[in-house]
């Protein structure tokens, strides 16, 4: 994950969570209270919009979006 991608992801998470803090890259966004099940829906929609991708339903596994690192790995796999 490059720096630009990371900055955009942090902005998305901060915007959705309303928290002024930044999650550690490997920190669980759920456990740390940044997102819940419904905020996950919003976050995925924001990621699709921001990075111009459509994530197939079969790839919508919550564990894939559990931390900044994992989201970055997924975006890397999509060539973002």
């Amino acid at each position: 994950m490059n720096e630009d991608t990371q900055e955009k992801l942090v902005a998305i998470v901060r915007g959705i969570s309303g928290k002024g803090t930044t999650p550690d890259p490997d920190e669980s966004l759920f456990d740390a209270g940044y997102i819940d099940s419904f905020a996950l829906v919003d976050m995925v929609a924001e990621i699709e919009r921001e990075f111009g991708i459509k994530i197939p339903d079969a790839e919508l596994n919550p564990r894939r979006f559990n931390s900044l690192t994992r989201i970055g790995e997924y975006l890397d796999s999509r060539g973002v």
Binding site: F30, S37, F38, L40, V41, D42, V44, A45, D57, A58, L60, N61, P62
Partner: protein
């Protein structure tokens, strides 16, 4: 063209509000409402079996349609919480309605079951005549079974709904329907023969938030209809927060989505027909307005049903008000 002639419902008398449930579960009543939009739910009494609940909703539906039970040619009953492995409760429902020899079909699909039943009834009505579609659920028991999951226990209630689908008459003309299933998610939402409802809420909500609007979009696209032209959306009442996401995804105001989840909670497959029954009564004056004769003139008179649940099974059904 198959027509929905009427809807009916039955909710048990006993009401469990968030304050009492929170005390039982050891959680905060405000959290229950914020998490789900639910304020209270109904709990079936002793002796209120699935067939009994379905009978009450069916009789309400028949009364409202002014149709005698003897005119029913096929009974379809959806329930994910039937008491027996077999026989399912459909045959007992038919018996309770005095229908000896009339075929009775069970749909143990849980949340999307009533939608599947309606879509099937629309196809089967030309062969069987008037079809009774009922859905009855007793979700409160398994939802609060040990080992207790508070996130699940707060959601569910008991109740029943029904609709009557025929080949002619006044009501809602069924225009089209799409149904889907994907067994890759069987483990994510399930109720075994013993134990509680097991739900991976994150996966269920994420998939539902995508697949419900996709199904609605699919059925609307097949009819060249824009979501903005639909006057009312009637969804399986799963969670207020989910409904808001579906509305946002479709780009229509959440106010077009009928909601009664605050009073009944999630009653699984019954919820769609309970909601439709209440919506039907609320829109009764509008049904005496000028007749709708063409799709082009039907903007605002289109009604879209949609549901998603265990399986996963999901789909959408488009109907049009007529007089």
């Amino acid at each position: 063209m198959a027509t929905i002639l009427s809807f009916g419902r039955y909710l048990p008398d006993r009401v469990l509000d968030n304050a009492d449930l929170a005390q039982k579960l050891g959680c905060d009543a405000a959290w229950i409402f914020e998490s789900s939009g639910i304020e209270q739910r109904c709990i079936a009494g002793e002796g209120e079996t699935i067939a009994v609940l379905a009978e009450c909703a069916s009789r309400h539906c028949l009364e409202r349609a002014r149709v005698d039970a003897a005119q029913i040619g096929l009974v379809i009953l959806s329930s994910g919480t039937a008491e027996r492995r077999f026989p399912g409760p459909a045959a007992e429902l038919a018996h309770r309605l005095g229908l000896a020899g009339v075929p009775a079909l069970d749909i143990p699909v849980a949340s999307a079951g009533s939608l599947f039943g309606m879509a099937l009834a629309a196809q089967l009505a030309p062969a069987y005549g008037t079809v009774l579609v009922a859905a009855a659920e007793k979700m409160s028991g398994p939802a609060s079974s040990e080992p207790l999951d508070r996130n699940v226990a707060i959601l569910f209630g008991d109740g029943a709904g029904a609709c009557l689908i025929g080949n002619a008459g006044e009501g809602l003309a069924i225009v089209d329907a799409v149904l889907h299933s994907d067994g890759a998610y069987t483990e994510n939402l399930r109720l075994e023969h013993t134990g509680p409802v097991r739900m991976d809420g994150r996966t269920v909500i994420l998939q539902a938030a995508r697949r419900i609007p996709a199904a609605i979009g699919e059925v609307l696209a097949r009819q060249s209809v824009d979501a903005s032209a639909v006057g009312a959306f009637l969804l399986h009442q799963a969670n207020r927060n989910l409904t808001e996401r579906v509305a946002k995804a479709l780009g229509v105001p959440a106010s077009r989505f009928f909601s009664n989840i605050q009073r009944y909670g999630n009653t699984s497959s019954a919820s769609l027909l309970i909601a439709a029954s209440e919506w039907w009564e609320q829109t009764a004056p509008a049904r005496s307005a000028a007749p709708i004769t063409t799709a082009a003139s039907a903007a605002g008179d289109l009604v879209c049903f949609a549901a998603f649940g265990a399986g996963f099974h999901w789909g959408a059904l488009l109907a049009r008000k007529m007089t």
